[in-house]
Symmetry: C2
Subunit: 433 residues, 2 copies
Amino acid sequence: MRRTIARKRDGAALDDAEWQAVVAGYMSDAIEEAQLAALFMACYFKGIDEPEAAALTRAMVESGETLAPPVANCVDKHSSGGVADTASLIVVPIAAACGIPVAKLSGRALGHTGGTLDKLEAIPGVRTDLSPEAFAEQVRTVGCAVAAQSARLVPADKRMYALRDRTSTVQSLGLVAASIVSKKIAAGAPSIVFDVKVGRGAFFKDLSEVEALSRTMVHIAESFGRRCAAVVTDMNEPLGPAIGTGLEAIEARDFLRNGRRDPRLLALCAILATKMLETAGFAGDAAGAIRHALDSGAAYEMLERMLAAQGAAPGALDALRPHARMLEVRANRSGFVATIDAPKLGLFARALTERFGGTAGVFVHKRIGDAVTAGDVLATVFGGESGEDVLAAYGLADSAPPPRPLVYFEIASEAGGGPEAAAGEPRSRLATR
Amino acid sequence: MRRTIARKRDGAALDDAEWQAVVAGYMSDAIEEAQLAALFMACYFKGIDEPEAAALTRAMVESGETLAPPVANCVDKHSSGGVADTASLIVVPIAAACGIPVAKLSGRALGHTGGTLDKLEAIPGVRTDLSPEAFAEQVRTVGCAVAAQSARLVPADKRMYALRDRTSTVQSLGLVAASIVSKKIAAGAPSIVFDVKVGRGAFFKDLSEVEALSRTMVHIAESFGRRCAAVVTDMNEPLGPAIGTGLEAIEARDFLRNGRRDPRLLALCAILATKMLETAGFAGDAAGAIRHALDSGAAYEMLERMLAAQGAAPGALDALRPHARMLEVRANRSGFVATIDAPKLGLFARALTERFGGTAGVFVHKRIGDAVTAGDVLATVFGGESGEDVLAAYGLADSAPPPRPLVYFEIASEAGGGPEAAAGEPRSRLATR
């Protein structure tokens, strides 16, 4: 292992056998944590190239079980984490309503970012701890399922992530890519759509880093024969208006049912749902099918069926209401919204739900670029007793900021319809930091 | 600790309190080895500046006992490790014979480099495991002592070095400097001379790295109020002719007694002994005193007295003879000695002494730059059955290589007589690698 560490430290690419030995040795306690920590830090500085990331991913996948695809044409969807990112709760039932089964394993809230499992569990009765067998059966019979990662899949990831967390080596692109993709590979879906967030509310702030991360993720997934697409999207402000587990469940419900659709959230969901259909081989007019699933109420019904299958009490979704204590946060000057500190809002909403229950949180009315007059309501706090943190998260300026794209670029695997990258050639090596 | 790791990872200089917390936390098991390993790897890439190295050294020294100086004007001498480096066995008695007491704690062989303790123990009866009290008493009564580091001094160094060794983070300049100097500080001598080796037979190959290492070591020692000097010397070939624990003891004996003095070894010993006298405040003509100590036999007598005090059997040094099996290694072509692979010879000699006893080893007759005719004896192998490895260590060429200096430059602390650096301004920050 010393030699492996020294090779990475000196900038070499480790071969498949070395990555296998690292992961297998760590899981069998033949390699000590200190050695893996030193290797991770060397990876932080020297990077991991795409073949290395694929080899590491394979070694991680082989540390546990791998699920067979519940249905041949099913799709999985992943978000790298953001604030007010309600997209999964919306696009999963949309795709399923369009006839593309969705088999999605999700995570918990991490830091300031929300977790889809927590949002589902804000709905009374809903369980996410499905066994792999129950999960697959639900995908087959209902059309979609969103469940927690089983401990039987990629056990190496849990241990390695905890070690990276304790040793400040989380932010290493190749390690992040392997961690994300290994879980998707083990979960079995033959098609995968990655929503990779970039910006102050995401884990990565730098577009070129995220580009490299996305390309590596696509490369790894392809090396396992999966079809996939990655969409790099903006996370410099909350994606949707609702921040908080239960508030986001309400947002998804109303989005699918009532047609009250936040334009930014709608724009991203349309893109992601389209990618999911395309990647899974949907034949026909994807955009038309998605519109129909929304307008006909089929997507909403699919959400209800999925929740019911996962234990939701009858009428529970319908009955979900924001926390009764409401507090309006008003602009203390006129101007334009120049910035919104999404991590601050994410942490604030998380603290509120922990103190006041699942439907506490923040609802954001004014978004970046909006004109405001002093006294206008910027946001509503549900459950909390003070809006100071929310006001502090708003940066108001005299002029409107330059518009920022919602989607920076897309990458698709060859098998998924040819490369659609809008930002130059793929880079074979991750940027070193 | 995560924050400390992240700060170093991002290039910050850690403050005194952070280094204190790192070492104290590690020694109390409050900080896990994996975290320290990650920090060490970050140090490898980002470097440690001189104040940081001093703070780390202080924290390491405080992990154990610190000895009072046995005598007010005593001196210590350190070599960063090389092949055929018999200098300590020669300069310690010289300085003591000149009236400057020497209190030297030494180490074991490491990799291809020799260790003074091993060379002393090749003399029948000699013990190096003196208690701190016996060590100090011998310095006072005999004038010099060379003993093993007590486990009571700098216990943090032993643990930290072992961790660095397992995690391929040994070669980090600031960590090396702190490791070396912490032991010298704890050993108590108010004056210290560092012989810092550079070249293919040393641990560092790059002159600018060694310059930075030397300046940092001097800076650290100064921060503890010690007077010191560093001499950066060539280790691209064996320093003296003898390689092997017992052979080097014989070399030192004959050097001091018989006047058969290898010119290269003599040149370095004269410089080191002069530095030891000057740094310790010797008043008068140091060069003349050293010459007299050699020519009068006073230095040899001092060596005998020191060995006797450390348990040498009467006549043991005198009776020491090279291993009886002798094998001559002859040049297979004519030309000039262009290179000598010192690590190869060091490892070969070490293996011979392990198999065939303490006075096995290699005696090198031809040195870099020497002209040879095919059939000339290049070296003699004592104890071994084959000279192939030795022949392979010689690089013969058609022309003589350009001459290389024995001493690259010297650095002295202010208190030790003013800066004598011959290679530009001190650099305040270690080169990052």
